[in-house]
Subunit: 287 residues, 2 copies
Amino acid sequence: MNISNYIKQRQAQIETALQDSLPSGGTRPAILHEAMRYCVLNGGKRIRPVLVLAAAEPFGTPAAAALDAAVAIELFHCSTLVHDDLPCMDDDDLRRGMPTCHVKFGEANAVLTGDALMIHAFQMLAETGNTRLALELAQAAGSRGVIAGQVEDLAAEGQEPNAGLIEFIHINKTAILIRAAVRMGAIAGGAREDELENLGIFGEKIGLAFQIVDDVLDETSTEEVLGKPTGSDLKLRKMTYIAVHGMDAARARIKQLTTEAINALDMLQRETTALRSIAEYLVDREY
Amino acid sequence: MNISNYIKQRQAQIETALQDSLPSGGTRPAILHEAMRYCVLNGGKRIRPVLVLAAAEPFGTPAAAALDAAVAIELFHCSTLVHDDLPCMDDDDLRRGMPTCHVKFGEANAVLTGDALMIHAFQMLAETGNTRLALELAQAAGSRGVIAGQVEDLAAEGQEPNAGLIEFIHINKTAILIRAAVRMGAIAGGAREDELENLGIFGEKIGLAFQIVDDVLDETSTEEVLGKPTGSDLKLRKMTYIAVHGMDAARARIKQLTTEAINALDMLQRETTALRSIAEYLVDREY
């Protein structure tokens, strides 16, 4: 399998679905709908929705519910980025080289754009008619998931490195949503409970590995390679895996998590070449 | 029917359900869960959830799904208040005489508390197993509903009075969610499509009337009677029904909307004494 082509095809499918799912920029209020489109249709890598589609495929799913779930998880992810960039949070002016939402549309509209994207994600899931999809996203996204990770990440800035805390932040801020992406794809595909269990383990492990790779790249890569400024973790005094455990331990942990993720996949006894290749692709970025 | 007792009983039931629905204040991250409880368990009047329960009752519903829907709509409503109070929005320091969320817990935590409450609302609805409830809330809440109303309300500050604009703001910022409350109760109760239609009209009319009463009270009442500062619309240069149409027209419109609402109820040919009494109670505040 040429994983790079596989991902490109799925990205194109997701891009079209995202465009179709959002109200046109002229819909009243125009500024809100323009902002929603600006913050979603921005050339993102679509890692989470690609995982949704790849996790549905082993079950021979019809595309519709999986594609809706893929769109929903990306809309939710974009909503968190809009709020994370706010002046009272990470105070970022640029994302992917473009002005962030509050810089372009004002702070109040950025808060409301994030809210609208979040609600739109749950609307997409409600329209599938399957409440298990919304339940999966809500449990991963909420106060015991992504939002919990974000709260502790902000509180950790400038604090002493702490192994328990960095694990909590990485699991909740990143891994739990990647786990949800994989499980939502499998739910849309009609997976059994034991299969969901194994795919959940796969998703959490690659989610953690993905975040540690991000921490490594922030220290070792260049702005040219990453397409975003490096060293921002140090600047914001963010707690990273490297600050706590060092670079060698970080690289070893990435390898170990990838192995554990692929072991969980193998338990499935389904055709999961695409999921495995995506996992390897995600950790095999230049570091 | 003693409507005041009826409302008090339902409020008590909702209060208990809200308390039970929120994670305990000690759940990690403690500051987030404390903030969520602080912003919900604050002595609110619970108008929307009372309407959910009252709209379910004519259909002899079992309480469970209606109570979950009631909790969800109040959680969503509270999330919008937390975000509305932010410095970049209405910049309010006090709500019900207590410090607002960002004053007490910091601005970043207030953004995230609003997010968490919004997600929790959709989690409650997903747990009912009925996607129609989540669809109803999402459609009313999103970029073509409550969030649209909020965007245009902020943009209208300081602008010339405009009849079309004030109608758009009132419908979207207030009436659409009250309409959703009534419809969600009826959906949980198992109403037919034509019944939902009539109840939707009832909800929208009393929602609009309720907002115009609010505008009237902001100009005519006192802080002692309302329990909140009056004249804030003038101070913020908010566009109100009175600024556009004058006080006499406002009072006439409230009467007309109430009549239309009750006519829509009468079409139902169900036992709707409670809904009618709540409608009268909502517009019969001191003005």
